[in-house]
C-alpha cells in the first residue's frame, strides 16, 4: 500500500494526471486565459509569429516550470531535462510554424508529421545528445495530453448528433478494429501485436489521436507509433482527394456520401474538406459522424489497456490476473482520461453550461496540441530510420493498413446507405 502511495508522486502515469488537473484548474479559474496559436501564412513564415512571441515565451516558461517540478519529484535529472526541454520546445514551435502554412494545412499535413520530421532529422544526422534525450520525455507529454483530451470527449454532445450517425460510427469502428486485429495476428502474423492494434485504432477511429491513445495504452514502441502516424497521414491525403470523386461518379446522395466520408477519412479537417466538395449537407453529415467517432477514443483506449493487462501481457500458462494485479499493471493515465471525460460531460456541463465548459476546453485543447507536438518532436529525437525500416517487416504493416482500410471503406458505405439512405431512418435532408 505504501509503495502504491509513493507511486502517486513518483511515476509518470500519476504525474500526467496531476499536470492535467493543474492545467484544467488554472484555465477554469482564469489563471491561464489562452494558449498561443500561430497565424496562417502563405509565403512569409515570420508573419506567423507576429504578435505571438510574448505568448510563446510565457507558454514555454510555464510548461518548463510545471514539468520540471514533476521531473524533480520523480527523482530524475531535472537540470538536463530543463536544458533539453527548451530545444524540444523550439522544435515544436518550428513544427507549428510549418503546419500553419496555408497549403500545408489545406492538405491536412498537421504539426505531428513536421514534429516527427524535425526530430528524426536531428537524430539521424548530428545525433541526439544525452542532455537533449533527457528533455525529450515523450511519454510524459503524451500522457498529460491524453488526460486533457479526455475533457474534450463529451458524451453529452453525442445525444444531439442523431441516431444515423451513431449507427455508422459505433457499428463500424469496433467491427473494423476486431477485423484488423484478427487479420494481423492470424493471417499476416505480424510480429508486433502493439503495432497491429495501433494501426487498427488509427484506421478505424480517428487517425493520430487514436494512435497516440492506443499506443500509450498498450505501451508500444515509439517507432511503431511513428510508423502508424506516418502511414495514416499519407493515406488521409489520398482518401480526401479520391473519395469525393468516387461519391460523385457513383451519384451518391449527399447524406450517404457524407456518412461514408465521415466514417472513413481519418482526420477531422480532411473529413470536412472532402465533404465540402459534395455540398453543405454532405459536409455536415461527414463532420457529425466524425465527431461521434472521436468520442470512441477513450472507450477504445480503455478496452485496449484492459485487454493488454489481462490477455496479451499474460503468460500462456499463468493464472488469470486478480483485480489487484490488474490495478497495479493498468496504465493509470487512462483512468485520468476517462475521469476527465466523465467529469466534463456529466458534472461540469450541467453545472457550468456549454459556453463556460467550452471556454475551458478551448484553452486546454490548445495546450493539449502543444503537448502532443512536444511528444512527437521527442519521439523523432528518440527514433532512427533503421529502427523504422525494421518495423516494416516485408511490408506487412502497409498490407494491414490497406486491407483494413478497404474493409472499413466497404463496411462504412454499407452502413451509411442503411442509416442515411432512408432504409432505417427518415432520409436526412
Amino acid at each position: 500500500m505504501g509503495e502504491e502511495l509513493r507511486k502517486l508522486w513518483r511515476t509518470e502515469d500519476y504525474w500526467s494526471i496531476w499536470f492535467a488537473v493543474l492545467i484544467f484548474l488554472a484555465v477554469a479559474v482564469g489563471a491561464v486565459a489562452g494558449a498561443p496559436r500561430l497565424q496562417r501564412w502563405a509565403t512569409d513564415p515570420l508573419l506567423s509569429l507576429s504578435g505571438r512571441t510574448e505568448g510563446l515565451i510565457v507558454l514555454g516558461l510555464a510548461l518548463a516550470a510545471v514539468s520540471t517540478v514533476g521531473v524533480a519529484a520523480m527523482k530524475e535529472r531535472w537540470k538536463t531535462y530543463l536544458a533539453g526541454f527548451w530545444v524540444v520546445y523550439l522544435l515544436a514551435i518550428l513544427s507549428f510554424l510549418v503546419a500553419a502554412q496555408v497549403s500545408v494545412r489545406a492538405w491536412g499535413l498537421g504539426y505531428a508529421i513536421w514534429a516527427l520530421i524535425f526530430g528524426l532529422l536531428i537524430s539521424n544526422t548530428v545525433g541526439t545528445p544525452q542532455w537533449l534525450l533527457d528533455g525529450a520525455r515523450s511519454e510524459m507529454f503524451i500522457k498529460t495530453g491524453l488526460v486533457l483530451l479526455g475533457g474534450e470527449v463529451l458524451f453529452s454532445e453525442i445525444l444531439g448528433l442523431g441516431l444515423p450517425g451513431l449507427l455508422v460510427a459505433w457499428v463500424v469502428t469496433p467491427t473494423v478494429i476486431v477485423f484488423m486485429w484478427l487479420y494481423a495476428t492470424r493471417v499476416l502474423r505480424l510480429p508486433s501485436k502493439t503495432l497491429a492494434i495501433i494501426i487498427a485504432a488509427a484506421t478505424s477511429v480517428c487517425g493520430v489521436s487514436a494512435a497516440i491513445a492506443v499506443a500509450a495504452a498498450c505501451r508500444a514502441r515509439k517507432s511503431e507509433l511513428t510508423l502508424a502516424v506516418g502511414m495514416t497521414m499519407i493515406f488521409t491525403v489520398l482518401m480526401m482527394i479520391v473519395m469525393p470523386v468516387i461519391a460523385r461518379l457513383a451519384d451518391m446522395s449527399p447524406a450517404v456520401a457524407g456518412g461514408w466520408l465521415g466514417g472513413t477519412i481519418d482526420s477531422t479537417g480532411a473529413v470536412v474538406a472532402a465533404g465540402a466538395l459534395l455540398g453543405e449537407l454532405a459536409e455536415k453529415v461527414a463532420a457529425v459522424v466524425k465527431m461521434i467517432q472521436n468520442v470512441l477514443i477513450g472507450v477504445v483506449a480503455f478496452v485496449v489497456a484492459l485487454f493488454w493487462v489481462t490477455q496479451v501481457d499474460r503468460q500462456p500458462d499463468a493464472p488469470r490476473p486478480g483485480l489487484m494485479e490488474i490495478w497495479y499493471r493498468f496504465p493509470k493515465f487512462i483512468l485520468g482520461f476517462v475521469a476527465a471525460s466523465v467529469v466534463f460531460s456529466f458534472v461540469l456541463m450541467p453545472a457550468l453550461g456549454e459556453v463556460e465548459v467550452a471556454a475551458i476546453l478551448e484553452t486546454s485543447s490548445s495546450l493539449r496540441g502543444w503537448l502532443f507536438c512536444l511528444a512527437f518532436v521527442a519521439i523523432g529525437l528518440e527514433s532512427n530510420f533503421r529502427e523504422l525500416a525494421g518495423q516494416l517487416v516485408g511490408g506487412k504493416p502497409i498490407i494491414l493498413y490497406a486491407v483494413g482500410q478497404t474493409f472499413n471503406i466497404i463496411l462504412t458505405l454499407l452502413m451509411a446507405w442503411i442509416a442515411f439512405g432512408g432504409l432505417l431512418f427518415p432520409p436526412v435532408t
Binding site: Q101, V102, S103, L121, T125, V245, M291, A359
Partner: protein, 105 residues
C-alpha cells in the same frame, strides 16, 4: 573524424532546406493543380481561411457564421466564436467609452 561530423551537419542543413523546399513547392504546385485534387485543395484552403478569419480576426459576424454553419462545429469551436464576439463587443465598448465621457457634462 572532423569531416564525418561536418558531413552530419551538412546532412541536417540539407534536410532543413529540403523541408523549406517542399513547403514552397507545395504552395506553388497546389495553386496550379487541375482536376479533383485541385478542387479538394482549393475547397480545403478556402474553408480553413474562412473559419480562421471568423474565429481569430475581426472579419465577419459570428452569429451569422454560426447560423450558416448550422451546428457543423463542436461546442469548442462554437464557444471560441462566441468568445471572439464578446472580445469584439468589449473592444467596441472600450473605444466608445472616451467619446461618451467627453460628451457628458
Amino acid at each position: 573524424m572532423r569531416t564525418r561530423r561536418g558531413g552530419r551537419w551538412l546532412g541536417l542543413m540539407a534536410g532543413l532546406l529540403g523541408v523549406a523546399g517542399a513547403v514552397g513547392g507545395l504552395q506553388r504546385w497546389s495553386d496550379a493543380l487541375p482536376g479533383p485534387a485541385g478542387d479538394v485543395y482549393r475547397s480545403s484552403a478556402a474553408r480553413d481561411l474562412a473559419v480562421y478569419s471568423y474565429v481569430y480576426t475581426d472579419v465577419g459576424d459570428p452569429v451569422e457564421f454560426l447560423d450558416r454553419e448550422n451546428g457543423r462545429y463542436g461546442s469548442v469551436a462554437r464557444a471560441t466564436i462566441a468568445r471572439a464576439d464578446t472580445v469584439r463587443a468589449d473592444t467596441v465598448r472600450a473605444a466608445a467609452a472616451p467619446a461618451d465621457s467627453a460628451r457628458a457634462p
